[in-house]
Amino acid sequence: MVTVEIPADMELVYKRPQSLTETHTHYCPGCTHGIIHRLIAEVIDELGIRERTIGIAPVGCSVLAYYYFNMDFAEAAHGRAPAMATGIKRVSPDRVVFTYQGDGDLAAIGTAEIIQAANRGELFTTIFVNNAIYGMTGGQMAPTTLPGQVTTSSPTGRDVETAGFPMKMAELLAVLPGAAYVTRQAVFDPRGIHRTRAAIKLAFQTQLAELGFSLVEVLSTCNTNWHMGVVEALEWAKKHMVAYYPLGDTKVSDGVRALMETR
């Protein structure tokens, strides 16, 4: 073991959040799931709610999230995390509940569950990782796959004539009165990462203040199934994903606005 002397006049500006376990993740090198995990953990640390937070992992590449977050966790059936979260939150209203879901999970098989939970204004938070593909099953088309994007199930590129246009979930969910805070962010560079962190924090605060349902859509990459280099994937995403999926808040309820202003 190497012990490193930290000079006395150095102060800690970044350390592993307590809300993450020590376990190494199984994610591919450069996968943005890791960044998003970290941001959530940082926010939970900052809000001091780790010991009363219950997370729900989806089926998708982040299916093992429960090994990485240092808190109570459940693993949902594919797409059903919002229903499970509803069940948990309704019987444990003083706990903080969040779901972590991919785009196949949330925007395909789980469409009904997320829309209805949002509409009911369920008091949990959803972190929605949009990487425009089904990562875990090896790169099939997701509801969010961009027009023309090649995947294993759209081998000649997504054909909007037969598969429809990519779904803008943040815009769709914003229509529902039960949704108090809905935003879209991206973790393609440090600035975006900082903003995403702030958004995640606001989402959890929305929950803590019982203002309604909150969701942060995070544009992400999947270099492996996009068949790109890590940096190339970020560049591609910045160029193409952000063009289709505009960043920013799609829904800020009055309550949330008040919250924003008091910060």
Partner: protein
């Protein structure tokens, strides 16, 4: 408490409340909607959780969530709705959280109709969705038993951390008969939720509830543990009722509504001089196989009567293993076989065995 004239569905719902039900998630479907409606009224009165879900898929996953949080929770539905719950049931089975599910079966397949049926016997006893699992399946024959079995379902579900399913049909759900509700149990306070529950990792290691085990060796171990639990349940929880079986040389086997119809058939057959007995399984899983095997040595033949094309009869045959003839009589499509149809079958059995 004195007996009241209770309607089956309402009795089931109220029994669940008395048993300490903390939360109900469900979706309307005939012929069980009265369960949901009773709870829609009563649970908020009691300050507990009632939520009409957007679907049965959502219901069962809400149940899954609430169960993970350590709450006493239940859903109810009828055949098509239960089919939609199969994936969720399989997750619950593997995750070993307790859940109570009511299936007031209706005529099938497909949309079928809302008349009484026992067409989901196989679906209930052979599996919880995909994979190897048997929920505990309880089949009340009358309203008092429905009440008692609902209470028992919660206790068994929690004791074994498993799914306890109560199956009945619309005729039980809609009939009225005098019965006594149990006293109101206090609701378990959130602070006393079980140690494995997801309650927030305060001063302890995080709890994880999952059904994912990537390594086959590990999943095999999980399955062996599940199987051991099932064996324990099979050893301890078999329940059935016998009527006039001591001296019987012909045996009726029937469950639920048909079971009680067969009680009448026994009386009438005895009046005609046939020494008929009845075994009414109360737990469909675990099944009273050992007792049936024993009776197979005593009787000349068995007649299984069901409101389906012959499902439980397979379990009877498995128990009997050829030691006596096992005949079947069934009605389909939502028709309840009546004693006057069963008697000729008994006479035939008497002649042929």
């Amino acid at each position: 408490m004195a007996k009241e004239l209770l309607e089956g569905n309402a009795a089931i719902a109220e029994a669940a409340i008395r048993a300490g039900l903390e939360a109900y998630f469900g979706y309307p479907i005939t012929p069980q909607t009265e369960v949901l409606e009773h709870l829609a009224r009563r649970l908020p009165e009691e300050g507990r959780v009632f939520l009409q879900a957007e679907s049965e898929v959502a219901s069962i996953n809400m149940v899954y969530g609430a169960a993970c949080a350590g709450a006493r929770v239940m859903t109810s539905s009828s055949s098509p709705g239960i089919s939609l719950m199969q994936e969720g049931l399989s997750y619950i089975a593997c995750s070993e959280v307790p859940a109570v599910v009511i299936n007031i079966m209706r005529g099938g397949p497909g949309l079928g109709n809302v008349a009484p049926s026992q067409g989901d016997y196989f679906q209930a006893v052979k599996m919880a969705g995909h994979g190897d699992f048997h929920p505990i399946v309880l089949a009340p024959g009358n309203i008092q038993e429905a009440i008692d079995l609902v209470v028992l379902a919660f206790d068994l579900a929690e004791k074994y951390r498993t799914i306890a399913m109560v199956v009945a049909d619309g005729s039980l759900g809609q009939m009225m008969e005098p019965a006594e509700l149990p006293p109101m149990r206090p609701v378990r306070p959130p602070a006393e939720r079980p140690p494995w529950a997801l309650t927030g990792a305060r001063g302890r290691q995080p709890n994880i509830i999952t059904s994912l085990y990537l390594e086959p060796e590990v999943l095999e171990e999980v399955n062996l543990r599940l199987q051991a639990k099932l064996q324990e349940i099979a050893a301890n929880e078999v329940r059935w009722k016998e009527y006039s079986s001591e001296d019987a040389d012909l045996l009726l086997v029937a469950f639920g509504t048909v079971g009680r119809v067969c009680q009448t058939a026994v009386r009438e057959a005895r009046r005609q001089g046939l020494k008929v007995g009845l075994l009414r399984p109360i737990t469909l899983w675990p099944f009273p196989s050992a007792r049936l095997a024993e009776l197979a040595g005593q009787v000349r033949g068995m007649l299984v009567v069901e409101m389906n094309a012959g499902q439980m009869v397979e379990d009877v045959r498995l128990a009997v293993e050829g030691r006596c003839p096992v005949r079947f009589y069934g009605r389909l499509g939502g028709i309840i076989p009546l004693p006057d149809e069963i008697l000729p079958e008994l006479e035939r059995l008497d002649k042929e065995c």
